[in-house]
């Protein structure tokens, strides 16, 4: 079991070292600062597009939402419009709650069996996975948006405002961003859960640990650059602006730590489309959530519906005519 997380951990370490030494030792700034980021972005968008079109090309033969509340039926029975939507608006609301608030995960319970005289199975509300997941995703989103300041000049006001909110704790200098701390804490929680929760550990693959370590590596390298080693921020902005304006330059004096950080981010981008991280796009296409439960009211068309051999009434009556007549059941043909 150990190697399921030790190998991905070692791989992430190694990847970081490759970039760090590649820059500090072999002077491969151009490779790690220009070629790899471009390639990663191409892989990300290409792969993302490829995967989503592959999904979209698969048919949706049946309308099979999972209904999680009262259906629309008689006018005096109160429908649960969101968890069992029968209109596009309802579906939209359901999807918004699912995507932005992880509504299904919010329902999570934990079962326990108490072998005693009562032998009770009990279920308690289990909120931690939801909290951890929500904290992780929103912190990550904030971090990503903050990083847009490296790709836009002048930095728009709304990014500055977000930075202001993120740094509202006003601790230390440079001011501490909460998002970084929350991100690291959340990702460590998710990792701990994977390792120490018996069931989750059993189902985890190396492919589940790898992105976690990658993100941990990215977060730690990012935090050290900002708060501890104090990299050349002006140089970095020159480099990132060069990338985004397709005039790539490699300014002097940027530390290897930065290239390690960028390399891990690039790996994450390139790895994204071929991994489970695609749940980001998949959730939009999940037929059990994104369809209305109105199948009895509005006919759904199956694009590959084909004719099948059935046992017709005529064949049936041929099999049983005499017995039917004898039993006094009506028949279509009398003999």
């Amino acid at each position: 079991m150990n190697q399921k997380y030790l190998v991905p951990l070692a791989v992430v370490f190694l990847l970081f070292l490759v970039a760090y030494t590649g820059v500090e030792g072999a002077g491969l700034q151009g490779f790690f600062g220009i070629f790899v980021p471009y390639a990663a972005v191409v892989a990300f968008f290409g792969g993302f597009f490829y995967r989503v079109t592959k999904w979209a090309r698969s048919a949706v033969p049946f309308r099979i939402p999972t209904t999680c509340g009262q259906q629309k039926s008689l006018p005096w029975i109160k429908q649960n419009c969101i968890d069992n939507p029968n209109t596009g608006t309802g579906v939209f609301l359901r999807m918004v709650l699912e995507i932005f608030l992880f509504r299904s995960l919010f329902r999570n319970t934990k079962a326990a069996f108490n072998r005693s005289e009562k032998n009770e199975l009990t279920y308690s509300w289990e909120i931690f996975l939801w909290v951890g997941a929500l904290a992780f995703h929103y912190a990550f989103l904030t971090v990503i948006i903050r990083h847009l300041r490296f790709f836009i000049e002048p930095v728009p006001g709304w990014i500055k405002f977000l930075e202001y909110l993120d740094g509202i704790a006003q601790v230390g200098l440079p001011g501490l961003f909460l998002s970084g701390v929350v991100l690291l804490a959340a990702v460590l929680f998710l990792l701990a859960r994977r390792i120490y929760d018996n069931k989750v550990s059993h189902i985890s693959l190396a492919a589940d640990y790898f992105p976690l370590f990658l993100i941990i590596g990215i977060t730690i390298s990012g935090i050290s650059m900002r708060y501890f080693t104090k990299v050349d921020i002006m140089g970095i902005k020159e480099l990132t602006m060069g990338l985004v304006t397709f005039n790539p330059v490699i300014p002097e004096g940027i530390s290897g730590l930065f290239y390690g950080h960028v390399f891990l981010v690039s790996i994450l981008f390139a790895y994204f489309p071929m991994s489970k991280l695609m749940h980001m796009a998949g959730i939009f296409l999940s037929p059990t959530r994104n369809m209305a439960n109105n199948n009895r009211a509005v006919r759904h068309i199956n694009p590959w519906n084909y004719d099948v051999k059935v046992h017709t009434y005529e064949e049936y009556e041929d099999d049983f005519r005499e017995k039917m007549i004898e039993a006094g059941l009506p028949v279509d043909k009398k003999e």
Partner: protein
């Protein structure tokens, strides 16, 4: 039944701690008696021209597979990935967060980690990654790559594992409620079973009902004259109890409504009492409102075990409903109390076998209510229909006849999570009996627990699996039994009515099983009926014995 595992022994086995070994490496599956169903009778596969019919035994090493079976599976997977977006997306996006792990009744009852929905799906996903994921294919070239990418080649051991665990899932969709992406294990199991059927690997408890249904019109293989015999028999019983001949109509052309219910209601106690409830209701509506409802012997099955075989088989069996409605020239179809039957009707029928343009948009002629939610499929659930009648005060009832019942209500999986029929049955219960208590919140409505015997697993030989899988449901019944003195478990599913008596006897022996329309049948006051002394089970009505004694004095 003597070698059956005792409840205490079964409870002793429950341990949610997972083994420390890798699930992928424990690939030699121990197929254990009590946990699996017998293989399909080859004759039953032949009825529907299903491939590779043969005698084979799951316990034997050799499953007598066709030589190119791996190729068949690979091609089958490929076709299904193209045909079902659900399948392709669900293969790709699971993050293994574990939210589903302890939501499955089979996991809760057995503690077997491969009954965690996520692992059940991973059994298939591991092969999918091996065969269809480019990233995994590249990784697999390195030593240890397979373990890293989570891929497995399609070996005989893997196939046996599929068979064992895809027939330990009742397609109840409870896990899908909790999954943040809505991944539906029912969908995975459906695909898994379709693939197994490509190799002739069905179980007999599904294959034979399917064959029967195709040939004779119902799962139990009741021929038309025998079907009529059963109905006649109920008619006599009802006459004895009420003094009224309910005179049911069968295969009647020009009736207003065609009624279809699972054949289990016609054949097996306690479903038979629910069936008598329908018959009393139809007689009442005919006398009072001149509404003609007919039964059919050709479409004498509401359930559809084809759904547990393949999409194609489901369509072949379901076709009878519309065909018969058309032949008889009815206005619309009314459907009885059943679970998976309603998933098929609500989410598949119109798409597969519609449009039903020869039927009318369903309207209740007695109340004038338009069933807007069924205007395309043209099939109405009897609970929607009866609730509407009661709401409009169209049924005269004496609900004191149900006074000896202390009820709780089990939401059947499919009407709950594939439809959302939750409050209609509760409304009828509240209007037909006085004492009703809900089971704990996490075990009802969309979070309801399966009976443990659905999706074709209600056989005798897998009794340990059924009792273990039914434990979470039974445990909740036991809770209300002890707390409120509940003595009857009400349900709207024929499989429930077949499965629960054994489950209750095993875990909560003092609780009976009852259908909603049995409550209605007991309470309805028919025109010209004599004073009833017993309920539909021929047991004395509340207060009757006492009155008799008083009379004697």
């Amino acid at each position: 039944m003597s070698d059956e595992i005792k409840p205490d022994a079964l409870l002793d086995k429950i341990d949610y701690k997972t083994p420390t070994t890798d699930w992928m490496s424990t690939s030699s599956v121990q197929i254990r008696p009590g946990m699996y169903c017998y293989s399909a009778n080859p004759k039953s596969l032949d009825t529907l021209d299903m491939p590779y019919s043969r005698k084979w035994n799951p316990l034997e090493e050799d499953w007598k597979l066709p030589e190119n079976w791996q190729e068949i599976i690979h091609e089958g997977l490929k076709t299904r990935l193209e045909r079902f977006r659900t399948f392709r997306v669900f293969m790709d996006i699971c993050v293994r967060c574990g939210a589903c792990a302890d939501k499955c009744h089979f996991f809760l009852g057995t503690g077997d980690p491969k009954n965690m929905p996520v692992l059940r799906a991973e059994l298939l996903r591991s092969v999918y990654r091996n065969d269809f994921s480019t990233a995994a294919k590249i990784l697999n070239k390195f030593p240890g790559g397979k373990s890293f990418s989570g891929s497995r080649s399609m070996t005989l051991d893997v196939l046996k594992e599929w068979w064992y665990y895809f027939f330990q899932c009742t397609e109840c969709r409870r896990c899908s409620v909790f999954c943040p992406y809505g991944i539906d294990t029912a969908e995975i199991t459906i695909m898994g079973r379709e693939l197994l059927n490509l190799l002739g690997l069905n179980i007999d408890w599904i294959a034979t009902p399917v064959s029967n249904c195709f040939q004779t019109g119902n799962h139990l293989g009741i021929q038309p004259h025998a079907f009529k015999d059963m109905i006649d028999f109920f008619t006599e019983d009802i006459e004895e109890i009420t003094g009224v001949d309910v005179d049911p109509q069968i295969n009647k052309k020009g009736a207003d409504i065609l009624f279809i219910t699972p054949s289990g209601d016609v054949f097996a106690d306690p479903g038979t009492y629910t069936c008598q409830g329908y018959m009393i209701l139809f007689k009442y509506l005919k006398d009072k409102y001149d509404l003609n409802v007919t039964w059919s012997t050709y479409a004498s099955e509401g359930g559809n075990f084809g759904f547990f075989t393949s999409h194609e088989t489901m369509k072949r069996l379901n076709a009878k409903m519309y065909a018969e409605a058309k032949r008889l020239g009815v206005k619309w179809i009314l459907g009885g109390e059943c679970g998976h039957m309603w998933r098929v009707i609500n989410q598949y029928m119109d798409t597969m076998n519609g449009p039903a343009d020869f039927l009318e948009e369903p309207v209740n002629p007695i109340t004038g209510t338009k069933f807007e939610n069924a205007k395309s499929t043209k099939m109405v659930h009897i609970c929607e229909f009866t609730a509407d009648l009661i709401k409009h005060d169209k049924l005269e009832m004496d609900i004191s006849r149900n006074d000896n019942l202390v009820l709780t209500y089990h939401d059947s999986c499919n009407p709950a999570r594939g439809m959302g029929l939750l409050d209609e049955p509760r409304y009828i219960i509240n209007k037909t009996c006085k004492e009703f208590y809900e089971m704990p919140e996490n075990t009802i409505r969309e979070k309801t627990f399966c009976c443990g015997s659905g999706a074709g697993l209600n056989a005798g030989e897998n009794i340990e699996l059924r009792m273990a899988g039914g434990l979470p449901r039974a445990n909740a019944v036991k809770y209300v039994h002890e707390k409120f003195g509940v003595n009857s478990l009400c349900c709207i599913c024929a499989i429930d009515r077949a499965a629960f008596p054994a489950l209750m006897e095993y875990w909560v022996p003092e609780v009976d099983v009852i259908g909603i329309h049995e409550l209605v049948g007991n309470a309805l006051i028919l025109e010209g009926e004599h004073k009833r002394e017993t309920d539909l089970r021929m047991e004395p009505l509340p207060g009757v014995e006492q009155t008799k004694e008083e009379d004697d004095e």
